[in-house]
Amino acid sequence: METSSNPSVFLLTVNGQIEGANFPDYDSLYCKYCYVYGHDWAPTTGLEEGITQITSKSTQSHRLIWNFPLEITFKSTNPSGWPQLVVSVYGPDVFGNDVVRGYGATHIPFTPGQHTRTIPMFVPEPTWRLQKFTGWLLGRRPEYTDPKVVAQGEGREVTRVRSQGFVTVSFHIMTKDMKKMGYDAGPSSPSAVQSEAQSYVK
């Protein structure tokens, strides 16, 4: 669509997968994801939202494995509002009601290469104990009006959350024309990226 010599947008391709999660107390969870991005971003191809299969823990491992592929390409004119991946995990509670088990968000990595992100998950807390009890009883836990809330800072100060577990996501990032547009997104040598990714994980 643009001539390569004279691009007007840059492209960010995200491949990867929601590898799995570590929720010590819960089982049979599934995961929804969506992206939050700024005004100057638009997805060109790929799925913007998705929902994984329900996965159960194996007897040995305590990890939940989804291995749910992510694939999306964004075009953008401005790094401001860099896309964020918002994941929310749901699963049945004791009574079989589908309740939320965690929200989390992470920025899509900036640098090309392979990255692994471990997203800490959390859920909003009920405002008071009785509600906690009734919410537990009726399977109506507090939820965010919109999961995308977790990708923004605005308004979060009014909430109280409890941490739940972790979701691991791996990304393979490719960018196009970033340098041409004057944005240098850091090291391009794979080894450097690798080490950086590892340090992130740490």
């Binding site: 840059f10 638009a42 939202e49 909003p124 008071w128 919410g135 009726l138 809330v149 308004g155 979060r156």
Partner: protein, 1668 residues
């Protein structure tokens, strides 16, 4: 060897066999399903042992392979590798003939197998990942198993070969030890996943290309290698390491390299034996190999064989593939096998002997008195299991301690929690524990940083070298120590004196002086005295005397020192004697230096003589001086005496005369006493000075000399103190002394280093030695940034765990020149006045102490000592001293320190005061050449020139410019940045702008056009657009209010509450809980399903085309019907019309509905009659502005749904000239009958609208009349006058959108807080009881403040003209007032403020703005009614189509009336066509009543507000009306009617409309019928007067008469005037301009009727005339 014999016989056989085998091999290679077949292949191999055994001996290549495979296979099957030796044993028994070979093979097979596996496992394609995972999982147990296996291997080897046992073992152990980690993993893996593994060799082997050949090559090669170069253990090790290279490619490479090598070798071999047939050669080789093997049998080469076997196993299994039944393994067998495989640690306690090395007894450290930490608690069984497990491992014993237990660290878990619970009960808290708030104090060193400390070169370092400590007294000193230390001190003193040798110096000096003096005396004697010389002599002699005196004191000191040294030493000796033990190592030796007695005596005497002589000379001199003085005095006295005598003589002469004159002289003395007394006192007679006594003088000198000097001939005593004496061992000492010594050993000392009163470091704690010296020898490097003020070394003494401060030593801050290395270690004395007493031998401190037996001569000793340390500045890497520059040396005065730093000198705020900086600069003598100071100097230079005044600003961020992204100018200039900034500021044009282009050039200026236009419009008022200057101003004002309110909303939108972010269930009450529980029991599929709400869609993930507007046009009532137009003039008789014939034949009306929304126009089919029923659904697509489907954006959609009713009229036009008679042309015209406008915002906020809408029909429809047919009952009559056409519609949006939530009115308020809370509560309760009934108690005024609603209601005067118009007819006045109110244009707040927030303006604001919502109209109308003396209320309820709205209720004799303030219509309470649907609450000036009746429709509502069971009052007895004052003005002032302006406006509107109509008909000529125009114009004022009622008929007839044979269709439009645009739109929507017949003419008339306060009523009369 036996094999040799057999080989010739069976060679032939074997050859055939081998060929067959090779065939199978090749065949197998080609097959792909080898993996699956492997096990069976193996079994197959197993099944044919006899055949293969034959082959074994002679046929090297496949035969050997096979044999090995068999064995491996068999072993595996039977014993699972771990017990190969056993297998071997029985196997050997079975076929004894192969024993020698077999043993060796079997010994190696296990490891060979493993090696093989290892090769494979690291290859990437063959599932290495699994191997890895296995490895990692089992690494814990691997060690154990590994050792297990190793042991077995060793055992087996031992059994097989007795000869090379030792060698073998060594090697085996080497193998197992060296690559232990690798082997471990391998072996372990093998045991765990062996069945998986077995397949892998095949896949590995398959890689080989010419397989048959290569495998053969390999075998041969392997054999060759065995023969030729037996690899050493190291080689073997290398082999293994090779395999384990982490990177697969290199490994592959290695393997392939090996293969290649082999191949080469094979070639070489072939070259050698080229004549021989290949097979023969092979056989020969095999034989050779066998021989070699036998030869080397004694030697151990297991690893070599490994390699051999490795390749054997690679290929052999595939050679013999055969399907076979699964073999059943008996349970017991399996259990046994499992037992071999698995290890279950026992629970039983392990005997201690096993855990300890042989011949060792457990040793319990606790019993030996050593401290052993508490072990963490572990249950006994677990411990046993662990021990059992460990014991199985190699070197398991190392895990056990001497006591036979597993080595364990002490339990790290504290018993008590580290953080004690806090109790917040204020009262209970111990007052001592209560916290006291202290304001933070600024450290006085806070701003005393060394200038330039921030930059790296200003990195200063102080080195504090603490070398040691010596106590001169310590409380633990024994008496002997006290003496010893005194002795040491004295000795030190002595030494230092001796070193200085002052006495010697002085003696020399004295001698020199004496010599000089003598010389001088000689000269003096020879040459006579000169004054100068005499002076010098006297000076010299004085000097000699002084020097001699000094020497004498020094000598005396020396002497006493020596004496006291000896005395103390004697005391020590005595003490030692007494206490019978020695505590100190000191020994004093007195070295005698014998002197020559004669010379000594001579010297001594000479000295004395000289001294005596000098003394004599001195005393002589003194005597002479005194004598001279005496003489002088005597002279004086004599003189005086003579005078006295003379006096006396005179007296005597008078008395006695002159007698006895001669004797007088002699008796003088006698008389003197007598005579003097009575006489006046004269000077005493001077005594003649005594002559110095030379003898006594000599005596004194000698005495002195004997006191201070060595006696002549006495030996010179030189004391020498040595510490060589031995100290009595503790055992020999008395108890008290032992106690003291123990006490000493318990003590240790350390030194804290405090820099500027802050502890920076401390030395290690060193124990006090018996001689009370402590050596630290530590150097501390202090990196400093603060000016050094004090360096303090604190000496701490530790006894056990407690430590106490002994003393402090303040060390001066060193000079900058003092740097490490050159600085000597100095000793600083310290002392402490602590009182310490002991009950043992220690003397204590500050305790009186006596060494005398009688207790006299007590002394009190204080703890004291010397600390040797050194403080100096550090030296940097390049030898640069890390000391601050000299000028900044802070060790100086106070003022000097201040000069360091400008900030500390004048304070930070003063930095911009030039005067102060100048002052500081001069005072601190800044170096102008220092590059650091250039900026300051420059500043000062400028400042001193007086041109620059100090800036009156305060710079907070000095680096702001450096951090700027781009310069401000660039930021301004760049269009892209501008766009980004505007978007960020949420400017309305750019609020949701997408894709701001990345490059500057791609941002076009067009983007800003709208925005700039708006900005420009802000200043210029476009009067042309508005036609009315006042309205233009008002519009501007409104715009501004709108903006400010929007801004406030945008701001408010960013304040979130929990409910905005988190959806949470309401706290359920018990009832709801019960219902929920009940619901659980509800049937899943009820017989009568309930209607479910449509799913609501959040507006975020929508796009164009997703949303549709559904309009269901159901039916209409009471549509005007056509009137037959008299074709001829005069034919207007009603009778003709009422003829039933006509009624039947003539079409009354053929109406259809046309709906236009967002440029889409759809229409229904045409129906018949005045009450048509369409029942059609129209779908109109909806697209949001800018594709933004957010709630806020949807709310601000201003589009309206236009629903027009038209009459379809068919005209048969005259047939054309040519086709006359053959065709009929029908022309369709549509005549506008009325319209309904519904704003989209209403539909959006209500999500569905269902009801009958009153169609806005023009007052007069030319050619139409309302239906009067049928029974003309009273009701119908009333309806015709009041009602009109109604259209029943159903509107909704598909899918249902979540309506925007009203912006929380979190505005401040001037209302009482109690009132606000009550209002909130009231509304909440109302909402709970009846969620669909609106209840409003507080509203927001124009300034955004919350106001209680009753404050708006107050009687207000309508314009006086209205009151005057109908003085006698209040009813008329009422309608007039209502009409006036309805003429003020409506402007829904929702649209203007893009949020569902109602702003209520007061009536004067409303009249000034001339625009408002329903509530403003209602408030104004209500206030007028109240003024007119009516009982009126505001009704808050829901109506069609407005939704929640405000109406007015009046109560008159005839009943309750409901007024629609926007239209001026009123309805009876019982009117079923009343647009008001529900009644929520009533408001008047006093109270608010909430409707608690069951049916909220006005029809069924009882409006008797006194009934509290129907109306719930806000102010009740419990909460009475606080007397809220009104926000309305007392009186409204109206501007007078401006008729001239109205006339001007009228002309302009007419002109504009005419232009527009012509514009809309671009292809057709537009002809205006002037005659008709004027007629219509005359007619319009009448319509205004009658308010559009009951004038149509007469007027039409009049018109008809005038126009004759024109077919006329027309109507007057009536609008309140706000702007020109609505008028144009209204005209356009009627579609009059769409008549395209050729002979059409148009008529247009405009009339603007002015009302007070510039309220204008606009009438537009439109007509189309077609000549018939």
């Amino acid at each position: 060897m036996e094999r040799m014999a057999a080989s010739s016989e069976i060679r032939e056989k074997l050859r055939n066999k081998r060929r067959a085998l090779q065939d199978t091999l090749v065949k197998n290679k080609n097959e792909d399903d080898i993996q699956a077949l492997v096990p069976s292949a193996r079994f197959n191999v197993d099944q044919q042992p006899t055949a293969m055994k034959e082959a074994e001996g002679s046929d090297e290549d496949p035969g050997e392979t096979l044999r090995r495979t068999f064995r491996a296979q068999r072993q595996r099957r039977k014993k699972k590798l771990l017990e190969q030796s056993f297998v071997q044993e029985c196997h050997d028994a079975e076929d004894a003939e192969e024993v020698p070979n077999a043993r060796r093979h079997s010994a190696n097979e296990g490891s060979a197998d493993r090696a093989d596996d290892s090769v494979v496992s690291t290859r990437p394609p063959t599932g290495s990942q699994r191997a890895l995972s296995v490895r990692s999982e089992d690494s814990s147990s691997s060690q154990h198993l590994d050792t297990y296996v190793t042991r077995h291997l060793q055992e087996k080897l031992r059994a097989a070969r007795s000869k090379g046992e030792s060698l073998q073992q060594q090697e085996a152990s080497e193998v197992s030890a060296e690559p232990v980690s690798r082997l471990q993993r391998l072996k372990n893996r093998d045991t765990v996943t062996r069945f998986d593994r077995e397949a892998e060799p095949i896949s590995a082997g398959r890689q080989d290309d010419p397989l048959a050949l290569r495998s053969r090559v390999k075998f041969r090669e392997a054999g060759r290698r065995v023969v030729k170069d037996l690899p050493t253990a190291e080689e073997a090790f290398n082999f293994f390491t090779f395999n384990y290279e982490p990177e697969p490619p290199s490994q592959q490479e290695g393997v392939s390299r090996k293969r290649q090598k082999r191949r080469e070798r094979v070639k070489k071999d072939k070259g050698e034996d080229s004549q021989e047939e290949a097979e023969v050669e092979e056989d020969a080789e095999a034989e050779e190999d066998n021989q070699d093997q036998n030869e080397y049998q004694s030697e151990d080469a297991p690893l070599v064989r490994n390699e051999d076997d490795l390749f054997a196993i690679d290929h052999s299994p595939q050679d013999f593939v055969e399907m076979r039944k699964a073999e059943y393994v008996a349970y017991r067998k399996r259990v046994q096998r499992d037992r071999e495989l698995l290890f279950t640690p026992s629970f039983r306690t392990v005997p201690t002997s096993v855990k300890l090395p042989e011949n060792m007894k457990p040793r319990f450290l606790e019993d030996e008195g050593l401290y052993v930490g508490e072990r963490p608690p572990v249950s006994l069984t677990n411990e046993n299991i662990l021990e059992n497990r460990i014991l199985k491992m190699a070197e398991g014993n190392k895990w056990f301690g001497d006591d036979g237990k597993v080595i364990a660290l002490p339990d790290p878990i504290k018993e008590s929690s580290t953080r004690p619970p806090l109790f917040h009960m204020e009262g209970d808290l111990d007052p001592a524990l209560q916290t006291v708030y202290r304001k933070a104090l600024k450290s006085k060193y806070a701003n005393l940083y060394i200038a330039g400390a921030a930059d790296p070169e200003g990195d200063y370092q102080l080195d504090v070298d603490v070398s040691g400590l010596i106590f001169s007294h310590h409380p633990l000193f024994s008496r002997e120590h006290v003496l010893a230390s005194r002795l040491a001190q004295l000795y030190d003193q002595h030494l230092s004196r001796q070193h200085n040798n002052l006495t010697g110096h002085l003696t020399d000096k004295l001698n020199g002086l004496r010599n000089a003096l003598q010389n001088m005396m000689k000269i003096h004697g020879e040459q006579g005295s000169s004054e100068a010389l005499r002076q010098r002599i006297s000076e010299y002699s004085l000097e000699v005397r002084n020097t001699r005196q000094l020497r004498d004191t020094e000598q005396e000191k020396d002497r006493t020192l020596l004496r006291s040294v000896i005395k103390v030493w004697k005391e020590i000796k005595a003490l030692r004697e007494f206490q019978k033990f020695t505590n100190t190592p000191f020994k004093l030796y007195l070295r005698r230096e014998n002197v020559d007695r004669a010379s000594d005596e001579r010297d001594y005497e000479g000295e004395i003589l000289a001294e005596v002589l000098e003394l004599e000379a001195e005393s002589e001199g003194e005597y002479q001086k005194k004598l001279a003085e005496y003489k002088k005095q005597l002279e004086d006295w004599k003189l005086w005496r003579r005078k006295q005598k003379a006096k006396r003589k005179k007296k005597k002469k008078k008395k006695k005369g002159l007698a006895q004159e001669d004797t007088e002289e002699e008796d003088q003395d006698q008389d003197e006493s007598e005579s003097e007394g009575p006489f006046e006192e004269g000077p005493a007679k001077p005594q003649p000075p005594e002559r110095p006594d030379v003898d006594s003088m000599e005596q004194w000198v000698r005495e002195k000399a004997s006191r201070i000097r060595r006696k002549p001939g006495e030996a010179i005593l030189i004391p020498e103190l040595s510490a060589s004496g031995s100290i009595t061992a503790s055992e020999l000492c008395p108890r008290a002394e032992i106690a003291r010594r123990e006490d000493v050993s318990r003590r240790s000392l350390f030194i804290k280093i405090l820099y500027n009163d802050k502890e920076v470091s401390r030395t290690d704690s060193r124990s006090l030695s018996a001689d009370f010296r402590v050596h630290f020898g530590q150097i501390f490097n202090l990196k400093i940034i603060n000016c050094p003020h004090s360096i303090n070394l604190q000496v701490f003494e530790e006894v056990g765990s407690s430590c106490s401060l002994l003393a402090q030593v303040f060390v001066p801050v060193p000079d900058p020149s003092v740097v490490t290395g050159s600085a000597p270690i100095e000793e600083f004395e310290f002392s402490s006045n602590q009182r310490v007493m002991f009950d043992h031998e220690g003397v204590g401190s500050d305790v009186p102490l006596s060494f005398e037996s009688d207790g006299s001569n007590r002394l009190t000793l204080l703890t004291s000592g010397k600390l040797s340390c050194c403080v100096s500045w550090g030296i940097g890497e390049e030898g640069v001293p890390l000391a601050p520059p000299v000028s900044q040396q802070p060790g100086g005065t106070h003022s000097g320190r201040w000069h360091l730093d400008a900030v500390s000198y004048i304070g930070a705020s003063g930095l911009y005061d030039m005067k102060k900086i100048g002052e500081w600069a001069t005072q601190s003598r800044l170096d102008p050449n220092d590059p650091k100071n250039t900026s300051i100097m420059q500043l000062l230079k400028v400042a001193s020139s007086g041109e620059v005044t100090a800036p009156d600003y305060f710079r907070l961020e000095h680096l702001q410019e450096e951090f700027n992204f781009v310069t401000d100018e660039e930021l301004e200039r760049s269009r892209r940045f501008r766009l980004l900034r505007l978007r960020n500021q949420e400017a309305p044009e750019f609020r949701n702008y997408k894709f701001v282009p990345l490059l500057e050039r791609e941002v076009s200026d067009k983007v800003f056009q709208d925005y700039e236009k708006r900005l420009k419009d802000g200043e210029i008022i476009d009067t042309r657009e508005h036609l009315d200057p006042h309205r233009a101003l008002v519009a501007k004002y409104l715009q501004k209010i709108r903006e400010s309110v929007i801004n406030r909303f945008i701001l408010a939108k960013h304040f979130y509450q929990l409910s905005d972010l988190v959806t949470e269930e309401e706290i359920p009450s018990i009832g709801i809980l019960g219902i929920n529980l009940f619901k659980l029991a509800e049937s899943k599929r009820p017989l009568k399903p309930q209607r479910k709400e449509r799913k609501k869609v959040t507006a975020q993930n929508l796009s164009d085309g997703d949303i549709k507007l559904l309009i269901n046009v159901i039916r209409a009532h009471n549509i005007p019907i056509r009137k037959p137009l008299g074709n001829k003039p005069g034919q207007s008789s009603q009778s003709a019309l009422q003829g039933s014939d006509w009624y039947l034949s003539q079409v009354q009306v053929r109406p259809f509905v046309e709906v236009s929304f967002q440029r889409t126009v759809l229409q229904t089919t045409t129906a018949d009659g005045p009450n048509p029923s369409w029942n059609e659904e129209l779908q109109l697509p909806f697209s949001a502005p800018n594709g933004d489907y957010s709630t806020s954006s949807l709310q601000s959609v201003k589009d309206e749904v236009f629903i027009n009713i038209f009459d379809e009229v068919l005209y048969e036009t005259g047939p054309g000239g040519k086709e006359r008679g053959t065709s009929i042309h029908t022309q369709i015209e549509k005549h506008w009958l009325g319209s309904v406008k519904i704003p989209f915002s209403t539909v959006y906020s209500q999500s569905k609208i269902d009801g009958a809408f009153k169609v806005n029909t023009p007052a007069v429809l030319l050619g139409y009349s309302r239906e009067h047919g049928g029974s003309s009952s009273v009701y119908d009559q009333w309806r015709s006058t009041h009602g009109g056409t109604f259209l029943r519609l159903f509107l909704t949006i598909e899918p249902q959108l979540v309506p925007g939530e009203s912006v929380r009115e979190k505005f401040d308020s001037q209302e009482d807080e109690r009132l606000l809370q009550a209002a909130e509560k009231f509304e909440k309760e109302a909402a709970q009881g009846f969620p669909d009934r609106p209840c409003i108690t507080t509203v927001t005024d124009l300034s955004g403040k919350t106001v209680f609603i009753t404050r708006y209601v107050r009687p207000l005067n309508p314009p006086q003209e209205f009151l005057d118009a109908f003085p006698n007819n209040p009813q008329e006045a009422t309608t007039l007032v209502a009409r006036f109110v309805s003429l003020i244009p409506s402007l829904p707040d929702q649209v203007s403020f893009s949020g569902t927030c109602d702003l209520w303006s007061t009536c004067d604001q409303f009249l000034t703005l001339l625009a408002g919502d329903e509530e403003e109209h209602a408030v104004l109308l209500c206030n007028y009614f109240l003024f007119l003396g009516k009982r009126a209320w505001l009704v808050i309820g829901t109506a069609i189509p407005e939704g929640t709205t405000v109406y007015v209720l009046t109560h008159e004799q005839s009943g309750y009336f409901i007024w629609n303030p926007s239209s001026g219509q009123f309805y009876n309470k019982d009117d079923s066509f009343c647009p008001l649907q529900t009644v929520g609450c009533l408001v008047n000036a006093d109270n608010v009543w909430y409707n608690v009746q069951e049916n909220p429709s006005p029809l069924n509502t009882n409006f008797d507000i006194t009934k509290s069971n129907m109306w719930k009052p806000f102010f009740s007895r419990s909460f009475s009306h606080p007397g809220l004052s009104s926000v309305q003005p007392e009186e409204l002032v109206y501007r007078p009617i401006d008729r001239a302006a109205a006339a001007e406006l009228q002309d302009r509107v007419e002109k504009i409309l005419k232009e527009k109509i012509m514009e809309w008909r671009p292809r057709h000529p537009t002809r205006w019928n002037r005659y008709c125009n004027t007629t219509l114009k005359q007619f319009l004022p009448k319509l205004e007067q009658s308010r559009g009622q009951d004038v149509a008929e007469g007027h039409r007839l009049e018109l008809q008469n005038l126009l004759g044979d024109y077919r006329i269709a027309g109507f007057p439009l009536h609008l309140p005037f706000s702007e020109i645009r609505p008028i144009i739109e209204a005209v356009h929507s009627t579609g009059v301009h769409n008549i395209h017949s050729a002979n059409v003419e148009f008529a247009l008339a405009v009339y603007v009727h002015p009302y007070p306060n510039n309220v204008l009523s606009v009438w537009v009369y439109l007509a189309s005339l077609v000549r018939t």
